[in-house]
């Protein structure tokens, strides 16, 4: 890969961001902002009720009566904050990326602007890969940055509240709370998520490039009809695919693998040695990721995804309808 084609690829990814910043950035921004506003409103309402009731209750004295275990448990508050922001961001990310991929190779065919892109010296391989890159790397990275900013903002809001009550927030909120390595874990997790997401990325891009219209319908209806057929084949006693396997490992992987962390298995606690310990990053620690990376489903799915992406590139090159 020459420096030239790297620059071109950079511009292609930047273009994806320009076109989709509403989903990639602003949707995350407003989701996080909504939670922050709720936190502020909660504090304000609480204070108003406290003053109105004339309670002689002070946060300070409450905390003075904390036992050492209570103080330790307070360390879970920031952790809960990270989980809340990250969870909401994950939901937003899933929806945004799902519809981004469905439209990525379809919207410009519908409004014919594909002819403008195709009038430039760009390879279809580069174009499609820039969309893969935007979906599995750029969008999650932006989400993590927004979650981090929102988390810091929430910590500051709570700290100001504590300060207003004359309490030093550093001991409670900042010092012995969450392991800050969780941010590093989330970054590494983008990589695991990306490999796991490939079958869905490929499936959605494939229909985005191949469908003459309504890629959404095709992407959903094909696995559903196949599942229903499988059910009827089973009903008349012919060889069929086990239901859990079909819906979990085939249809589910084609449609839902872009859900961040959907590779985490229900028995994750078996291979996360410090599971449940305070200050532990939970089911996304490195042993859990390592375990996931050794699952055959991870790599079979990735291979299927690569084939589907290659098919999407082919359709992008030769689809001829305008």
């Amino acid at each position: 890969m020459s420096a030239n084609s790297l620059t071109t690829f950079g511009w292609l990814v930047k273009r994806e961001y320009w076109e989709s910043r509403g989903g990639f950035f602003w949707a995350q921004f407003w989701a996080a902002a909504a939670i922050l506003i709720l936190i502020v409103l909660g504090i304000v309402v609480g204070e108003v009720f406290r003053v109105r009731a004339g309670l002689d209750w002070s946060l300070n004295s409450t905390i003075d009566h904390f036992s050492p275990s209570d103080t330790a448990n307070m360390g879970g508050v920031p952790g809960f904050g990270v989980a809340l922001f990250a969870g909401i961001a994950g939901v937003v990310l899933t929806f945004v990326v799902f519809f981004y991929l469905l439209g990525a190779l379809y919207d410009d065919r519908r409004d014919r602007s594909v002819l403008f892109w195709k009038s430039l010296p760009l390879s279809d391989i580069g174009t499609v890969l820039s969309k893969v890159c935007a979906a599995i790397l750029v969008a999650p990275l932006i989400a993590i940055v927004v979650v981090l900013a929102a988390f810091v903002a929430a910590q500051i809001i709570l700290s100001l509240w504590l300060l207003a009550h004359g309490i030093n927030p550093f001991g409670l909120l900042w010092a012995h709370s969450e392991p800050y390595s969780i941010w590093f874990h989330m970054l590494v997790m983008i990589g695991v998520n990306a490999i796991w997401a490939l079958p869905t990325v490929g499936w959605l891009l494939f229909w985005s490039a191949a469908a003459r219209s309504k890629p959404f319908l095709w992407a959903i209806i094909v696995p559903v009809i196949a599942g229903v057929l499988n059910f009827f084949i089973a009903l008349i006693g012919l060889p069929h695919i086990r239901y859990e396997f079909y819906w979990g490992d085939i249809a589910g992987r084609l449609l839902l693998s872009i859900v961040p962390g959907s590779w985490i298995s229900p028995d994750a606690r078996n291979f996360t040695p410090h599971f449940g310990n305070p200050g532990h990053v939970g089911v996304i620690d490195f042993p859990a990721m390592g375990h996931a990376l050794m699952l055959p489903q991870m790599w079979i799915g990735a291979a299927v995804g690569v084939v589907l992406i290659a098919a999407a590139i082919w359709f992008r090159r030769w689809r001829d309808e305008t």
Binding site: N4, W11, D108, S113, L120, P121, S123, G126
Partner: protein
Amino acid sequence: MSATSALDEVPAAAPQGAVIRAAGLTKRYGKTLALDHASFEVQPGRIVGLIGPNGAGKTTALKAILGLTDFEGELSVLGLDPRRQRPALMQQVCFIADVATLPRWITVNEAIDFVAGVHPRFDRGKCQRFLSRTKLQPEQKVRQMSKGMIVQLHLAIVMAIDARLLVLDEPTLGLDILYRKQFYQSLLEDYFDENKTILVTTHQVEEIEHILTDLMFIRDGKVVLATDMDALGDRFAEVMVNADRVEAARALKPLDERQVFGKSIFLFDGVPRAQLEDLGEVRRPSVADLFVATMKGTYA
């Protein structure tokens, strides 16, 4: 990226001879033959009008030239195969497919930044100069522009690219006369020179007739007439004939006959001029009249 690595191997010097060379170009859509063994050549430094009725294969021919569709037969554009060497080809070829194909979400600045980023032959300063003559604002989005403004932006970008072949497919469709005139005037004054070739299709033949150097008529997937405009005047002639000479004129097998103000106007192909002057006033036919005569019966 294997496709872009081919970019580095673009031949620097122009291959001598034709810019486009097509032989037996054929394209089927199901049972319909969009192109039926079409053969033609386009020489450098020409402005070629590709004219044909709806469904004659104009757009298919352009799509084949631009590598947007597969086809049978032989086709070389600037010495490259549009099917296999598309990214390399697009460094030297520009096209405006039809009006309003710029993405609606993009701003003027983003469009310029992007093209400057990916196109090695794009001259940003030139593009800015073209834009400064328009009312376009740097932060304006395409969706906020009128059709005419979108074309102004597209044209400013395309004219700032030092390409050797510019393909225009109905570039002024749906624009008002002011934008249409301005479009072709800019192309002639600020863009075209002897190193460039323009291939244009349009239904508004009258408007581009005077800028064309060459003419190609396409009908039912075949090129039925390919001539330069000088030869056209030598070969075709329109004669206004009085009623008493009509039979004599018909004997010379005219391409077409129509009545205007009680006189008959005949269109002849390849009849010696002296013979025609004998019949009445001889004129050079307009491309539109020639087109109508050539395409008679197309929709019948």
